[in-house]
Every structure is written in C-alpha cells, then in structure tokens.
C-alpha cells in the first residue's frame, strides 16, 4: 500500500512549500518510532507529568443498573489538562524538541487541544499560537483564558464557518510561512501523513494500558470497546489495544447531533451526508455537498463538531473492523446525567457519546461479558455548555448576576 494510506484513505495533499517540512517530520517521526528510548521517554513523561497509566475503573453501579455486561471505563479524564489530548501533544512536544523547533501552532475547537498544546508549550518552553474559530472563542472563553495565561496567543479565526475546520485551515496558513522554526501540532488522527499514523501512535498508549488492565481486572478480553469519534484520536488510541484480537468488537460513536436524518449532525461514517473527499491535506469521508464543498456540522460536543474523520478509521470502518454508531445531543445529556449519579463520573460531552451506545448495548449482553468505554475527557470544563444543556435556572441566574456586576 502507498505510504500514508490506509486502504483508499489518507495521503498527504500538501502544498509544495511544505514538502521539505513534511520530509523532515517524516524522517524524525520514523527515527523516533524506531527508537525504543523515545517511547520510553514518552511513557516516563506521561507518567511523571500527567498521571499515566490512567486507571480502568470498574463501573459497578452502571453495570448493575443495566444488568448486562460488566462496564469498565478507561479514565483519560484523569490526564493532566483533563483529556486524552495530553498524550498526543506531549508526544509531539518531544518530537519538536528533537527537531530543534522553537514554536508550535495548533487548531482547536472546544479548546481542549488548544489548552493541551499551550500546556505542552509552557512545559517545553516553546512559543505557541492557537487558532480557534471566532464562534468557538466566544463559546469557550474559559479555555481561551487558560491558553492565554499559559502563555499562548489565541487567534480567533473569522473565515468559513468560524469553527474547527477553519481553525485548521488557518493553522496551515500560518505553517506555510513559519515552518522553519514552527511545528504544527495537529490535534487528532487526521491531516496529511504522517499525522494520522503519528497521533495514533502516541494515543496507542491508551489501548496498551487498557488491554493489560482488563486482563488484570476481568481476566479476559472485553467483548466490545466503545469510544466517541471526532477526528478519532481517542478511539484510535484505545482501539489499537484490541485491533489484533478480532473477538473484540470496536464501536466508534459519532455525533448524531439533532439526528442523522437532519442536517444538524457531524456523522461521517453513519448517515448518508458524507462522502469520500480530499481536504485539509488528506483523503477521508467528509460531510460535503456533491460538488465537494464542506457542509456545516453540528454537535453539542464541540470536540466532535468536525467535517472529516481519521483516514485510519475510515478504512477500519470500510473493512468492517470498526462498527460506527451515532448518538444524539439529547441521548448524550441523558447518559452524562446517569454517569454522574451512578458513578460520580463527569464524562466530557464528547466522551458521553461513547457512553450512550454502551448503555444501549450493555443490557443485551451476558453478565460474564465485559465492555470498555473510553472516557476521553472530563466534563467539568464543559460547565457552560452542560449547564446550558440542562437548562439550569440557577446557573442562568448566576451568570446574569455576574454579568450585571461586570457591566456596572
């Protein structure tokens, strides 16, 4: 197969000006990948700076509640900065250090990857610029605040739909000017080769741990593994621990938004609004019109609100190795509420998509089966969105009062 391709998906559709940059990146990445010491350094960094291995928590209450399979939850929410995004950025940070670059740029939707990148940059002493759709800047002010305090420059992107994909385009525009000293830290398993493969590699730490942990705790492999799929990095992360064991079914859950039969969702592998295309440097299933113009997407979870999907997942989906499902905004809020009450866990809205599907299927499974849900991040930083979704009157009053205080 052609390098950087996964079945018919992937590639590196990059402007010529980035050719040398990608050549260097490929070389360094391959060197790092071949170097056991690099992975060792990465694992140690994640152990010392984040808190890997993250636990695999047995959700006894949820298991009993549904009365089917035993539910285990992989706790990526306990990472430093609150999500699996930390794995990727710290890994790329090590690579940037190797490449001798001094500046990183990133795109961000919800702000999670932006905060993670700003954090990594602070830790490694890099300059940092984060591109963020103007609409997301407005919606996700707390993350903008932290990025700035972490020393990053946040640039609101006013083009296109002013959300994640536009931020990604803008980051590319920065990169084609600045590649000499700058690395573009793509936040998910998308983009031109080697990004999908490289990000999947860093995220594989999730699956490596989870595989070991489920054997220790449950004694056998799980029947199914669930993960939400935005770009697909957390899903690829955990799936890689079970790809070689075909008896483990892998389930990716996309953003069903207001329903995949509406035009307000972000499901690329489910529903019929997506088709093969090439954008943002790679070939995958995109939500686009028949002429190839990208569509507006929607999800309650900003991190899933993206037109494309990992080429690796597009391939695994095509092969039938990964089954794709979609969860609606409403189902997501319900699953979040249940997880809070039953287990004291606050999954991010993104992660809650995985919970939805697991909750649908667990009751139909046998009590001696186990499933794993990847809790990709914590939801407490989604307070503005979640409280809004719950339509919480005290929250609204709180915000109104604060607002009045500030506008005095």
């Amino acid at each position: 197969m052609k390098k950087g391709y996964f079945g018919q998906w992937g590639g590196a559709f990059i402007p010529e000006v980035l050719y040398a940059t990608f050549a260097q990146l490929n070389t360094e990445y391959e060197k790092a990948r071949a170097d056991a010491a690099f992975w060792q350094e990465y694992v140690e960094l994640m152990g010392n700076y984040s808190c890997r291995p993250t636990p695999l928590t047995y959700a006894e209450n949820l298991s009993n509640h549904f009365g089917g399979a035993r539910i285990y939850i992989k706790r990526e929410d306990l990472n430093h900065t609150g999500a699996h995004k930390a794995n990727n950025v710290m890994g790329q940070g090590l690579l940037v250090k190797r490449m001798g670059k001094k500046r990183v740029i990133a795109e961000t939707g919800a702000g999670q990857h932006g905060v993670a990148t700003a954090t990594m940059a602070a830790r490694f002493g890099f300059d940092c610029t984060v591109y963020m759709g103007e609409e997301d800047v407005a919606r996700q002010r707390p993350n903008v605040f932290w990025m700035e305090k972490l020393g990053a420059t946040v640039v609101p992107v006013t083009s296109g739909s002013r959300t994640l994909k536009d931020a990604m385009n803008e980051a590319f525009r920065d990169w084609v000017s600045s590649m000499d000293d700058t690395h573009y830290v793509i936040g998910t398993v998308c983009g031109p080769h080697p990004f999908p493969e490289m990000v999947a590699w860093f995220q594989s730490i999730i699956g490596i741990e989870a595989h070991k942990q489920i054997l220790q705790q449950f004694g056998r492999l799980p029947s199914r593994v669930y993960a939400c799929v935005g770009g697909g990095s957390n899903a690829m992360g955990i799936f890689q621990g079970f790809l070689d064991t075909p008896e483990v079914e892998l389930v990716g859950v996309e953003a069903g938004g207001e329903g995949i039969d509406t035009d307000r969702h972000a499901s690329r592998m489910t529903g019929d609004r997506a088709s093969a295309g090439v954008a943002q440097g790679y070939k995958t299933m995109f939500l686009q019109n028949p002429e190839g113009q990208m569509l507006d997407t929607h999800s309650i979870a900003a991190g899933l609100d993206y037109v494309g999907v990992s080429p690796i997942l597009a391939d695994l989906g095509e092969q039938g190795r990964v089954r794709f499902e979609a969860a609606t905004d409403k189902e997501v809020v319900d699953a979040l509420a249940l997880s809070m009450r039953k287990e004291g866990l606050i999954p991010a809205l993104e992660s809650s998509h995985g919970f939805v599907q697991a909750f649908k299927e667990a009751p139909t499974m046998a009590g001696d089966e186990a499933i794993i849900i990847n809790m990709s991040g914590r939801g407490d930083k989604d307070i503005f969105t979640v409280a809004h979704a719950f339509d919480d009157p005290s929250w609204k009053k709180f915000i109104v009062d604060r607002g009045n205080e500030y506008s005095k």
Binding site: E16, V17, A20, N169, R173, S177, G281, K283, G292
Partner: protein
C-alpha cells in the same frame, strides 16, 4: 483556437521572443459576480495579459490568504457551482483566443467531479492547464498522467523551501510552466524582491527548461521590472482582486496596461 499542452510551453516561449516578461492574472470565479469577472477578463485581455487563472471556489482554500479566501467564500455563498464555472470558462476561452486560460482550484473539486471527467471537460471548454496547489505529484500521479494524455498542462510548483533535487523531480512531472512561489506563506502578502529572490530564481532556472512563472505578492510595476530577465512570467493574484474590490472592474485595464508597460 484550442491550445494543447505542449503548446502552452511553446506558446509562452513564442511570446517571450516578443516580450521581456509575460503576465498571468488571477480571479476567483463568481467573486464578486460572474458579470464582474467578465468585465475584468475583458480588461485583462485587451491590455495584453498572457495567461489567466480562473479559480473555482472551494470552501477550504488552505493555500490562500485572507483576500482570496474571502472571495472564495462569498462566491460560494452567492451560490456558484462548478457547472457555472465550466460554462463561464468556455465562454471566455472562446471569446479571448489569445489568452491562455487555466483552472486553479483545490483537489477536492476535481476529485468530486471525477479526475477524468474534470480534465476532459477542462480540455473541451478550451483551457490549457490546471493549477492544483494541494495536489503534489506524489498524490497526483494519475491526474498528471491523464492531463498529459489530454494535452493539458498540469502546473507544478517550486518554492523557496524546495531543494535542487526536489525541483528537478517536480519539474519533470509538470508541463507548461513552473509556478515559482516567491516566498513562504499564503497568497496576498507583499514579497520582498531582493537578492535572495534572485538566487532562488537562478536555482529554479537550473532545475528546469520550463518557463518560470513567479507569483505570491507581485503587485506593481516595480516588482515586474525587477523580475524581468529573471523570470518568464509574473503572476498577479490578490492585487487585482483588491483593485476590483476598491475601484471596480474598470480600474483593471489601466493597471494591467501599466504592468505590461513595465514588462
């Protein structure tokens, strides 16, 4: 008169016998409207432009700067379709046989249309080549081959970050001319025309026998004067869009005339 691909290179080399440097201009189809495009093209054609890039809008134009980006978006918002672009291109190519028209767009437009269908149609409407900035030769093997088969010039790029080796490699894949990106970055920012540009262009020259078109940030008479003798064609992109935005289509004629005068 339909030009064939080998003819684009020949055609340009012919013209270079009479001119010191050629001119290529650019516009975004449907921005601000196809009618304005028409006026602009007329002004360009009447004032001696050699090549015109007709950009088919795409929602994600990652290699373009803010001005062209905005033009892409507004054109799409106004409802432009690929079909309209073909029809318009056909009309222009027929009307101005002395101008070499090329499509410029992003690969997804081609991909969704179907490579073969897109290229055949491109040839049929009378264009001479295509410029696809996000389709490097490695990803475009089939596209490049089919272009050549159809005698359309698949334009390739040199950039200041390209090694000599890479230039040679890329030039071998391309036809018509090589688009030499004058600097790092996206379209629309001024480029310093200085010594480092000179040595870059020398390097470009060494790598290929194809004519060299220099673009990105070329916007005035002085730029063109400085390029003369070092490059074969100056590419005026964002500058005309800005001009039309600010002064309307009628300003394009005098602007081009002035640039052509410098050439």
């Amino acid at each position: 008169m339909v030009r064939k691909s080998m003819e684009l290179q020949t055609e340009l080399q012919q013209r270079l016998k009479k001119k010191n440097i050629l001119l290529m201009t650019h516009l975004v189809l449907g921005y601000p409207s196809l009618d304005t495009n028409k006026e602009v093209i007329e002004q360009m054609a009447l004032n001696g432009v050699d090549c015109i890039e007709l950009q088919i809008p795409f929602s994600e134009p990652i290699a373009d700067g803010p001005v062209i980006l905005k033009a892409n978006q507004q054109s799409l918002e106004a409802g432009i379709t690929v079909e309209q672009c073909f029809a318009f291109a056909a009309e222009m190519a027929a009307k101005y046989p002395d101008v070499c028209f090329l499509f410029m767009t992003y690969y997804n437009i081609v991909f969704k249309y179907g490579e073969a269908a897109f290229l055949r149609r491109t040839r049929d409407v009378g264009l001479v080549g295509t410029i696809i900035p996000d389709l490097p030769p490695e990803e475009g093997e089939q596209y490049f081959a089919l272009s050549k088969e159809l005698e359309l010039a698949p334009i390739t790029f040199f950039t200041p970050t390209s090694t000599a080796e890479r230039m040679t490699e890329v030039a071998q894949q391309g036809e018509g001319f090589v688009y030499c990106v004058a600097r790092r970055g996206v379209t629309g920012k001024q480029t310093a025309i200085d010594e480092s540009l000179d040595s870059y262009l020398e390097q470009c020259r060494q790598a290929t026998g194809l004519p060299l078109a220099v673009g990105f940030g070329i916007s005035n008479r002085d730029d063109i004067a400085m390029l003369t003798g070092k490059a074969d064609m100056a590419v005026i992109g964002t500058a005309t869009i800005r001009l039309v935005d600010e002064q309307g289509a009628a300003a394009v004629g005098p602007f081009i005339a002035e640039l052509a005068g410098a050439a």
